[in-house]
Symmetry: C2
Subunit: 145 residues, 2 copies
DNA sequence: GAATAAAAAGACATCCAAGTCTTTTATTTG
DNA sequence: CAAATAAAAGACTTGGATGTCTTTTTATTC
């Protein structure tokens, strides 16, 4: 469904959000350990997100990644689009270049229903809500059993 | 959403179905041209499907790919699983190894709703229905505008 | 200002999906 | 049986996603 980059990215950003609530900035090493993801790869992903202003970062001692006030209303869909683009929401399920309601592939209409639901679901969920689920112990971010 | 292999595979099998209704067997060259897919790659995909008995094939003159009576009730979901496996229906959206209703990732429940709809949609659609849409001119299989 | 700490940048490596091509095998037809 | 035809098998190449590591830049602290 999503790329590995996106999977790690979502987990990392949700984790950062759980810590930013307390004003903490997090280093890549701890983030990667917490979400059980490759450290350098996670760094690359987070740096790209910081460059796009989806999250924030600071260098040097006491530096790290965090989410500041004007970023904290981030919706899950915005994060996904920032990483993977909108292909999953707009591309044809059968890979047709010119597939639309007026020139549909054989499953265009059925897929539209599923995709609209996906888009609605991802639009309604904020990263903050996901972080809250983790903080309250109702959800997990790591791979461990 | 699906791999390229799966996209080409679905298009190819739907096209084969449109022809098998008339008892015709189709060669790879014509199939690939009809769905605008790479010829040798399409051959590889169809050979794998034939090996799994999802479709049928015959060698030599008058040979080609076709769908016989006991294969014609094929559902779209069966074709997808034969090519891509069931990862899309069962894997965690965030890539967690141990994600379940009792140990969920933060979007497990919301995703389940979307995925269940996807699975239902794909289970209800038969390849024959999709082929009918193409035959009746209501849908297309090629990339052209 | 020197030491330290952390992200930023970017080079490099690895893996797998995607795609290509050649050779072999099976079937049909004259 | 010989020629022709088409799938089957499998070797090979390519490209992009994934992953690793080193060097550079920036900020903090003493």
């Amino acid at each position: 469904m999503f790329s590995k980059t996106c999977e790690y990215g979502i987990r990392a950003v949700v984790y950062i959000m759980t810590q930013s609530r307390q004003g903490k900035k997090m280093g890549v090493k701890e983030i990667a350990a917490e979400i059980d993801a490759p450290e350098f790869f996670t760094a690359k992903i987070l740096q790209a997100l910081a460059k796009k202003n989806v999250i924030s970062s600071g260098k040097g001692p006491n530096g790290g990644f965090y989410i500041d006030k004007d970023q904290e209303d981030l919706k899950l869909i915005d994060l996904i689009i920032a990483i993977d683009g909108d292909r999953i929401f707009t591309g044809c399920a059968l890979g047709l270049k010119y597939c639309s309601s007026s020139n549909p592939c054989p499953i265009h209409n059925e897929f539209k229903v599923v995709r609209d639901l996906l888009e609605k679901t991802l639009s309604e969920k904020s990263i903050k809500e996901l972080a809250q689920e983790v903080v309250s112990g109702n959800a997990t971010l790591a791979r461990f059993a």
